[in-house]
Subunit: 351 residues, 2 copies
């Protein structure tokens, strides 16, 4: 999209010059990775990333259910942080609300706290801002009292020589997918349009294929993959590439800095919400795989002979996982064999 | 306010239990300080804080002037970070927009980049989210295309034994105020109500006392005090207490963890915007000093015999500064001698 390209150009032009720091600190990564790493002392890198839950908050508001969205906020952050090889330590949250409703805030913070426990991080601070003319309002009418925005910034530590941007990935390595719990925290604009405004469903409906309401299905929290990945590290698994699969789907693999391609040969059956969206919206496979995780929430690339260990450790941490493909020599290309599709990050699409 | 008290209670209840971390990390500060500090390695504390620019974005949107608000975002963060004795290293930003307008984003990022240079920090990453149904919209009407929210999270380093929460402050110490440039980034709800919706002014007006338009006056960027405070540290000044003066005004002094009070004896003439607000709104001194910085953007508490050095170093860094008072034995009380007012953080008000 034009606006996004220009925005990225502005980021590089205006913020790139801030990379040369006084005080001996140094930015060790470039823009576009899952997280940035700064060297803050000899042998100590500080990883930092920030992400929000996007328009998933709208579903929470419409369902008046606020206890799950905190998991999404933590997950979106810590899952990014581990991709560079960092151990997450803490997150701070930003909760912007139209109206300060104590019960709603309590439920959101309850989710954040529980998710932080699961991820093994502290939430030592945060910001709660009441902005009734910006959040959920055009500044003229009263607006939507239930509207809110939720964003996190998480930090972790990684030794500078252990920063993992995928540079060690080799042709022939195995691609293991950790399965997703559903939509996670992206693609909500398309999903809501297809299912609700155009599809005629309501969040209370339980259309065929779902065993609960559409609203509860959409609110299923994003899976937190931190403990499993830390388990792999403890076991000495050579995690050559780590990729959190969010917007852009499996094209996220191309963010890894390896001169290889990714042959996806065997995807698991995707959660039924994706079939519902595809069917109701008449959406082609190419678009589905560009927007959604389609059942794979996190990818781990390891030497072929470590796949069984990865699957066992993932299972011990409660994750379904499967080998989904093999690293190829088609540089920059993600190929979905079963769907006869291929895509790259430059094109931003499968075709 | 009831909602805020309950929200704070929810923060402590839900997030307090996250403070005990695996991996040997440890949260070294309690809630309520300007920044949180985590011990991430032997002898290394990571300070982190998050803050946004609040409803100042509305003035930027109405003025269609977006090059200054980035300074506010950086300032609100780094000025908090130095209060605990930390050297700011980096910030990540969250820019939530209704509509992705490349020129607007370019101007905002330009301000962020220039402010980061001034503060001596990197901005190695950030998040740009387009949320047309949450930001500037109630989700039903099209909403305000120019609406945006801007939040930062900044990190810095401080040796654990150098964390400064004001514990060394003693009765008789001098209170030095670094002057503010104007409104900084708080009090905009009251100011806009008094001046615009009730006061009948427009942002283009230049009412008596202002030498530029009201909009430009309101958009005057928050002063960044980092280089001056780092200058004090380099000179060996014993900065026993550091307080960024934002919402709650000089009551912020009570956040310092010292069993003392603060006698404010001689305030400088406040920027004329405050006189305009007070006059138009018929607002009492007590309310003005509770909501606004009233001319003092940052407070430094030092031994009496170091005041001249502080004033000199502040001046070398381009700041007007003056001795505004003396530390007293009235525990928890901020007394404004000239106005015959006193207040505490518990009461949250002057009277």
């Amino acid at each position: 999209m034009r606006g996004q390209d220009e925005a990225l150009s502005a980021v590089v032009r205006h913020l790139g010059p801030t990379f040369s720091l006084p005080e001996g600190a140094e930015v060790l990564t470039d823009f576009g990775h899952y997280a940035s790493v700064l060297r803050i002392a000899e042998g100590i890198g500080l990883a930092i990333c920030t992400d929000g839950v996007g328009s998933k908050t709208i579903v929470a508001s419409r369902m008046a259910r606020y206890d799950t969205i905190g998991f999404d906020c933590v997950a979106m952050n810590v899952n990014d942080l581990i991709c560079v090889g960092a151990t997450p330590i803490a997150m701070v949250d930003y909760l912007g609300v139209h109206t300060l409703d104590p019960e709603r805030v309590d439920a959101i913070l309850g989710g954040l706290g529980a998710a932080a426990k699961e991820a093994g991080i502290a939430i030592p601070g945060g910001e709660l801002a009441q902005l009734p003319e910006v959040i959920g309002s055009d500044g003229r009418s009263h607006g939507d009292e239930t509207a809110f925005d939720l964003v996190g910034t998480s930090v972790g530590v990684v030794a500078p020589d252990a920063i993992n941007v995928g540079a060690k990935i080799q042709e022939g390595d195995a691609i293991v997918g950790l399965h997703s719990s559903g939509m996670h925290s992206n693609g909500f604009t398309l999903a809501r349009r297809v299912l609700l405004s155009e599809g005629g469903l309501t969040l209370k409906d339980s259309p065929g294929g779902l065993d609960r309401s559409l609203g509860d299905e959409l609110l299923e929290p994003t899976t937190i993959y931190v403990q499993a990945v830390k388990g792999l590290w403890r076991a000495g698994i050579d995690t050559r590439g780590l990729a959190h699969i969010t917007g852009d789907g499996l094209l996220n693999l191309c963010r890894l800095e390896a001169k290889v391609g990714y042959d996806i040969e065997a995807l698991p059956v995707a959660p039924s919400i994706f079939g519902l969206i595809q069917e109701r919206g008449g959406i082609e496979d190419a678009e589905m795989f560009r927007v959604f995780n389609m059942g794979i929430g996190f990818v781990i690339i390891v030497p072929d002979n470590q796949v069984d260990d990865v699957l066992r450790i993932a299972s011990e941490h409660g994750h379904s996982a499967s080998r989904i493909g093999t690293v190829s020599d088609e540089r920059g290309i993600v190929r979905l064999r079963e769907r006869h599709l291929a895509g790259s990050l430059e094109s931003g699409a499968f075709s």
